[in-house]
């Protein structure tokens, strides 16, 4: 086959690959949200130029075209190493795995280099709507899972264009290896910090936010403003009157489990208010609802020191426990 013939074939197949790429990106997004994990997802379908260039590197043959698994590709970038493992497990359950590779396995103990989890996948029939599977069930693609640090290292390294690393001058190679080491240490440090917060024996805003964040991602599926969260939590957290982190975790989990449908209903119904009512896209929303039920008097007392009281009234109405009668008494 000539390049022209291959590209003509690609032109016919590309719309299906584009659908496939979109579908896996959406599925990955859903998977991570369901786990309550914040990730960044990048996805792309190769364009003609990229197909052509790839074939130039490997040889313009029909087989090389067929073997090109990353015609459709997606990347999941996680904040913490432990998150990559959770996402990887979900990928294994969701998709049919044609090939799995942990690039760090290739590295020797004393070697630093590209680290990422690679999956060659196809859609699993039982997990895919019939109509979609009929259309793109035969297509395969590549999913990469890595941490933010691994991504930065891989991207810079890719841009520098050194492949393989052994082609580098000894001085540049040493610097690249050093950087790899730094990023690996950074990954470990971030994981440790995360673990320290989660396993903390002190109930502070950082711990509270980590507990509230996971259900927030699951239910709200949006980014939020951390600084605003800390500001809220500084005021709201003491109202609960507890110091024990595990007690806090249990109270929040029980509250969200019990009121899951109600919270979902409010979020759907108030979607139109999202742009001008910041509370809806903040994880502390759950804590506000909890406090409206648990200790309305102290909540009012603390709230009015810092935030508009009308906002609290609105939230209390949405929650179905209007505070109007005690917010404006004279």
């Amino acid at each position: 086959m000539t390049l022209q013939q291959i590209l003509e074939q690609w032109d016919e197949q590309k719309p299906f690959y584009e659908k496939f790429t979109k579908y896996i990106a959406l599925t990955l997004d859903e998977i991570s949200q369901n786990q309550g994990i914040l990730v960044r997802i990048l996805s792309r379908t190769k364009d003609e130029v990229s197909i052509a260039k790839n074939l130039y590197k490997k040889g313009v043959t029909a087989q090389n075209y067929l073997d090109m698994i990353d015609k459709s590709g997606a990347r999941v970038i996680c904040r913490f190493k432990e998150d990559t493992l959770v996402i990887a497990n979900c990928i294994r359950k969701e998709f049919e795995i044609l090939k799995e590779e942990d690039k760090s396995d290739i590295l020797e103990l004393n070697e630093i280099g590209y680290k990422s989890l690679h999956f060659d996948i196809r859609l699993r029939e039982e997990n895919t709507p019939e109509e979609i599977f009929r259309e793109i069930g035969h297509i395969s693609g590549e999913i990469q899972v890595r941490t933010l640090c691994e991504d930065v290292w891989a991207e810079i390294n890719h841009d520098l264009g050194y492949k393989p690393l052994t082609d580098l001058s000894p001085e540049s190679a040493r610097q690249i290896y050093c950087l790899g080491g730094i990023f690996e240490i950074a990954d470990d440090c971030f994981s440790n910090i995360n673990r320290n917060i989660i396993e903390s024996s002190i109930l502070d805003e950082y711990y509270a936010l980590r507990i509230l964040e996971s259900p927030f991602i699951k239910l709200v599926k949006k980014e939020y403003d951390r600084e605003l969260s800390y500001l809220f939590l500084k005021i709201l957290l003491p109202i609960l009157g507890i110091n024990n982190p595990s007690e806090f975790k249990k109270i929040i989990q029980d509250f969200i489990d019990t009121n899951n449908e109600k919270i979902k209903g409010i979020l759907i119904e108030r979607e139109i208010n999202v742009n001008y009512f910041p509370y809806l896209t903040q994880p502390e929303l759950f804590l506000i609802f909890l406090l409206i039920e648990k200790d309305e008097f102290t909540l009012i007392e603390q709230w009015e020191k810092k935030f508009p009281i009308d906002d609290l009234e609105k939230l209390s109405i949405w929650w179905g426990h209007p505070l109007s009668d005690i917010l404006y008494v004279e």
Binding site: I272, E296, K314, I317, W318, G320, D325, I326, V329
Partner: protein, 348 residues
Amino acid sequence: MTAEISNIYIERVIIHEIMRQKVPNQKELPRYSEIESSIDDEIRNFLKDKVVKTIGGFRSYDVLFDDDSESPIPGIVENLFSFNDSDFIEYSKKIAGYLNGIQSGRSPGGLVTVIFGNIKGRDIIGILKLEKQEGARLEQTSIGGKSTYDILHLKDLILAEKTKLFKIGMFFKNGLEDFGYDGKVCDNQLSNTSSREVAEFFLTTFLGCNFTSEPKIETKKFFKISQQFFKEKIDDPIILTKYNLHLLSYITNERSTISSRQFAQLNLHLNHRKEYTKYLTEKEVPIGEIIRDTSLIEKRISEMILEFDNGIKIIGNQEGFEENVSLKQMNDGRTKAEIISKLKNIKT
């Protein structure tokens, strides 16, 4: 049911305009809508919030249809619960027509809005009355040759600062069987003594309802259980006296409604409010507003007695205590009382 009102879903809304009857014996007819008003998500949420804030809040009262009432509303509501599409409009017109017919010249014109919806699948009917400002004219619009009112008129009227008068009755299908009441009514005139008569017109004459509970019994319960809470939970004699005085002052005030939540918010220390409202709820004192009727406790609220360990008693009314008696806690646990007044009489 109150907590579940936040799940209300408003399906249909129709608005009619009723008139001020300026000339006796010459009724000005209402202006009816021939079709329902269209509602989008924003207005649906707006109406929902208004309903939750009033009916779902602590300012609503449980009501029962009065079998002896001459009002046709109980029957209409019953029929509406088994309506078909055209009946909703016709019945809503009957509701507005009835109110228009019984209004006196003193009552201003306004909008009567009938809502049909559901709360977790249970059908509900809401009847709202909003008074409009004198002289304000509401324009009808025509859709497909049929006249109606734009729902924004309703929104504007609700939002208008001068519109303080908002009355709503909400009725639940099979409410009596399941909750022990047919519906809930909220009327901001109820908390105003001078407007009480007007408010009762909406509740009894128009809606054909009565309160489920006797205000005088609920008032007595509120008073007695509050005193019981202070006695059981407050150790500090100074605070105890202060709270009792606040209670007397609150219940003898000219307000026409009382509420444990409001009393707590106004008069108790923050650390006592939650415990107090919880205590009263456990003792089945209504958590929301109560129509103040002190007829069963007149004697009790006319005076307060401070009784000391040594047998000395100070007796006086609430005002006298507030103005002339001061108490001070001493280090040995005793209380020092000081009365500043002119000695008038000595009885043995």
